[in-house]
């Protein structure tokens, strides 16, 4: 074979390999939507077959239709819940990371605070909701606080675990270069802990949504939790489902948003392979 023939053949092989990979990626990316469509279709066609009324179980199309007609109502309440969630989450993220740093650097602080944090974690925080209403009122504060309360712990734990997981050899390495503790932190500890921190943040944001909605269940005049409860009490199951779906959507979208930031901020170990 001549040189050009060999390189031609190589080209073709590479092209085929790329094609096969593209097909695989396409199949993979279609997997989740396909499953979703099947489930929705079963739901859509199963409901009339079983003779269920919309009052028991509305069909997906009915729900979508309802979201369309009541979008103003839903949007207003969505904004309320979203703000509560994000505020609670932001405080939990900043506070949680700072707490974790303090736990990591101070043995005394760890001894004093860690057991309390763990103990607090065993209290069913949902059960605190009625008390929070008593102390913080009916408005924004108790929802935001509940969102914070649920989101805080996972951030602390994930960050502490991330900081502690660092190979001691790494610390010796930068010490041998003459690094002080601040440099060690910035160059090694923080970047090495970032994947864990983001893992914690992703768990936390989902919990923050739950916290906000539970706060609204207990006492509220606004928000998706409130709307859903109202709808249920009026036997408006379709609106109840519509609210539920938007609550879920908030969870998904905020999760994605964090993942997006993570992709920019954190080096992906796999990406380089």
């Amino acid at each position: 074979m001549t040189h050009t023939e060999i390189s031609d053949q190589k080209h073709q092989e590479r092209r085929q390999r790329r094609k096969r990979r593209n097909v695989r990626l396409l199949v993979e990316s279609l997997a989740a939507p396909t499953v979703a469509i099947i489930v929705l279709a079963l739901w859509q066609f199963g409901v009339p077959l079983l003779g269920l009324s919309a009052f028991i179980l509305p069909t997906p199309l009915q729900i979508v239709e309802r979201i369309g007609t009541d979008y103003r109502l839903l949007l207003n309440n969505t904004l309320v819940t979203l703000v509560e969630t994000l505020a609670g989450f932001a405080i939990a993220a900043v506070g949680g990371v700072i707490t974790a740093f303090a736990i990591f650097y101070s043995r005394l602080f760890e001894r004093a605070v860690y057991p309390l944090l763990v103990a607090m974690q065993t209290i069913p925080k949902v059960a605190l909701a009625p008390l929070l209403v008593l102390y913080l009122g009916y408005d924004f504060a108790p929802k935001c606080f509940l969102a914070f309360l649920l989101a805080y712990f996972p951030v602390v734990i994930a960050t502490v675990v991330g900081l502690k997981a660092l190979d001691k050899g790494m610390v010796d390495l930068v010490r041998s270069m003459g690094a002080n503790e601040w440099q060690t932190f910035i160059k090694i500890r923080l970047p090495a802990a970032l994947p864990n921190i983001f893992g914690g943040l992703k768990v936390a944001v989902s919990l923050a949504v739950i916290g906000a909605v539970i706060g609204e269940y207990v006492a509220a005049e606004r928000g998706l939790g409130y709307l859903q409860l109202q709808a249920s009490s009026q036997f408006d199951t379709t609106l109840s489902f519509a609210s539920l779906i938007i609550i879920a959507a908030i969870g998904v979208v905020t999760f994605w948003a964090i993942e997006l930031v993570e992709r920019r901020a954190v080096f992906q170990r796999e990406a380089a392979k």
Binding site: G169, D172, L173, S176, M177, G178, K187, P191, R269
Partner: protein, 270 residues
Amino acid sequence: MNALVGATRKLKGVDVAITNLTKIYQTRDGNDLRALDPVSIAITPGQFVAIVGPSGCGKSTLLSLVAGISPRTSGTILIDGQEVRRPHPKVGVVFQTDLLLYWRTVIDNILLPIEIKGWDRTRYTARADDLLAQVGLGGFAQKFPSELSGGMRQRVAICRALVQEPGLLLMDEPFGALDALTREQMISDLQTMWLSVKNTVMFITHSIEEAVFLADRVLVMSPRPGRIDIDLHIQIERPRSWKSRLESKFVEYMTQIHEIFEARGVLTNS
């Protein structure tokens, strides 16, 4: 992978004077663990000293004391007449594992000590590129560690230790984690590299052969608590090649060290 010589300029080796150095660790159960019995070593500038000893005899301990990353119990360490109280700016360290930061490119890993010392990055980038070329990793500056083999990664770690132009290079079993063939190549390349810079080196290993091949002097340590059992001057011409291993002098040195280990019960003949 043939190493190019000459891209790097000669370094001024430092002298090292260790006197009556001891280290006692406090173990978890509150007992004392004597890792180093009084150790005294004097190294002249530009000498390549290998330290051989059985596992756990205190080799890494000795190295971390000289590197200034762990406090000594008693004794003195002088580098160029200066007492070591904190990491000395003229010292570069290579550890057993490469300890590359996976989120940094090869070039950024090599320049880490420069960043930490607050030196001018641009001035040292050219030197880092030279070093990379010298260890046969010319086109790899922008790669990430995960794209390199174990041997390549350790080469990068060596570049990282050399970029700051250290008068003293400390190496703690740098090739211990590599396969035999890679290791052989690395030993040969290290010699070439060192011949071009000629700084002072303390090279820790548990391989007798590696020590004799590389060093001007081999110090043999006793089992814990570590002491220097014997100080052997290796008089074999450089550059040494695999053929040097067949020379009678080479075999004699190895035999001598073997016999010490046998006498100490580190190695037994069954």
